[in-house]
Amino acid sequence: MTKEEIIKAENLVYKKPTLMNDNPMHYCPGCSHGVVHKLIAEVIEEMGMEDKTVGVSPVGCAVFAYNYLDIDWEEAAHGRAPAVATAIKRLWPDRLVFTYQGDGDLACIGTAETIHALNRGENITIIFINNAIYGMTGGQMAPTTLVGMKTATCPYGRDVTIHGYPLKMTEIAATLEGTAYVTRQSVQSVAAIRKAKKAIRKAFENSMQGKGSNLVEIVSTCNSGWKMSPAASNQWMEEHMFPFYPLGDLKDKE
């Protein structure tokens, strides 16, 4: 079989979303960010919202999300993405507005902005990458770091007597009147990726239908920060992260 025969339309089983450009990603090999970026690009394309979407990128590893998805972006200060998104959506109500935030950004420095944007029922979607560590700054303790887990700022493991407990922001979000859809997903397998994509699609559709605010947590790996291979990270996530951060829908206001 020649290359020309292989690339015929009828043989096409996978295509990079056109919204994903060819810029080399700065993410580490094995990181979950790339997969989630791709899912967002696919959903925007499938919804036909390419020209009506504004993304809000965080401070953290995904600060450069705007380098990879060819849509309009605003890069927010650390933790402030939900406030930034609030204004964009209120001022341009027919736009699809989402934030893309990590655990430090969303569940620590931006806790107030996150809870209040969700509770106001802003018609936005918050994509929450929870890898239980600060990736960008070199692997420090996050608000979602598991008890006993070692990081650069809890090198002997997270000790509740010193550091307190990991924060379940998604559970909190599910209790808020303003939220329409709150779910926790992952992207470590094909089946999980498909489910996560469905969740993102539902959240985006909700926000365009004015149903309220939407939070999609993606329990993710940070193999560099965790100091494991990508495969070992996925296994560790399944064994340790999933019991504390169980997957599935926490709230679905149909």
């Binding site: 020209d51 309009d72 200060a77 402030r80 204004a87």
Partner: protein, 360 residues
């Protein structure tokens, strides 16, 4: 048709002028002595008339970041607060300046430091004109001295902000915010349509159509060579603003032998002091900076050639006096008089200070 003259507080004038000039969004958080801005907007419900969005945010931090979001999306957006709240906004203001976004910030100053007092003060002069947040940036700073100027500077602030893609700030104080005066409000205008917004702000993040590259609103640039370029471009813009946008008012300066420099409510007190001094035969003039940045340095330097001394009158421990001295370059004595922590001086105190410090 004669224009309608109405009586209202400075804070209320800010809110009503904002609705009338077609502001798209206001984001604020209650703090004395400026809560009437948000209260007036809530009472007026402009979302039902002009379509203006009004949000009481969860914090000053959230409010200024809503301003960042709205400004990055090309809309006319503003916030208001008072000193401690404006301190909280500094991070956001730095980002807005760094990303070169137009917006209006209003600071109705109260006495500090810390929680301080709710009484009027001008102690945020340094914060406003020297930085406040991190990085090399400047705000276009307008200092109203009347309720009329509170109303007028909303429009002027936005005009300059959009002209230069730079945040503008109205630096008022508790006196100007709380006192009632007659005012003529601007004519009611329609807000810009979405198409007009897109035409005015082709750089805004509003959704990318197929004919252009993505618009990315950011102040981030990791390559130091690129970051230096961005900084140099900012400084070029600031130099242009300094060249074109200095505003000040001179009162009885032609024959003046002494000059008082004062802004905002201090200028009102200083003007009365000037009249008292002139009745006593002391030829005093008043120079009132309207833009605190860009500062009217040239105008002050020019007057320094004719006067024997200059008194800077401020409701703080002597902040603007540093800029006056820089302008004057030691050619004549420059002294400071002020009261602190929410005390507003009597005009006679100013006259006494003038005599004691400059005439002797």
């Amino acid at each position: 048709m004669a224009k309608e003259v109405v009586l209202m507080k400075g804070n209320e004038a800010i809110a009503r002028a904002a609705i009338r000039i077609g502001v798209d969004g206001y984001f604020g958080y209650p703090i004395t002595p400026q809560s009437e801005v948000l209260e007036t907007l809530a009472e007026e419900k402009p979302w039902e008339t002009t379509g203006m969005v009004v949000i009481q945010a969860e914090s000053e931090v959230a409010a200024i970041n809503m301003v960042y979001g709205g400004a990055g999306a090309g809309k006319m957006v503003m916030t208001s607060s008072s000193s401690p709240g404006v301190s909280l906004k500094q991070e956001g203001i730095s980002y807005i300046a760094g990303a070169e976004l137009p917006c209006l910030i209003v600071n109705v100053m109260r006495g500090g430091p810390g929680l301080g007092t709710i009484q009027p003060s001008q102690a945020d002069y340094f914060q406003t004109v020297k930085g406040g947040g991190h990085g090399d940036y400047r705000l276009i700073a307008l200092a109203p001295a009347s309720v009329q100027e509170m109303a007028d500077f909303v429009g002027l602030g936005f005009e300059l902000a959009f002209k230069y893609r730079n945040p503008a700030i109205i630096l008022a104080d508790g006196v100007i915010g709380q006192m009632m005066e007659k005012v003529i409000l601007p004519e009611q205008k329609k807000r810009l349509t979405d198409e007009e917004v897109l035409a005015r702000c082709p750089w805004a993040a509003t959704g990318k159509n197929k004919n252009r590259k993505p618009n990315i609103i950011t102040s981030l640039e990791l390559d130091p060579a690129e970051m230096e370029k961005r900084n140099i471009n900012l400084q070029k813009k600031y130099a242009e603003i300094q060249e074109n946008e200095v505003r000040f008012e001179e009162v009885e300066c032609e024959d003046a032998e002494y000059l008082i420099v004062a802004f905002g409510s201090s200028a009102r007190i200083a003007q009365k002091a000037m009249e008292t001094a002139r009745a006593e035969g002391i030829k005093v003039g008043l120079l009132r900076p309207i833009t605190l940045w860009p500062f009217p340095s040239k105008a002050i330097a020019e007057r320094a050639k004719q006067v024997k001394g200059i008194l800077s009158v401020e409701l703080n421990a002597g902040q603007m006096v540093e800029d006056v001295r820089l302008a004057v370059e030691c050619k004549v004595p420059v002294e400071y008089f002020g009261r602190l922590g929410g005390i507003v001086p009597d005009p006679d105190e100013v006259v006494a200070a003038l005599k004691e410090k400059l005439i002797k």
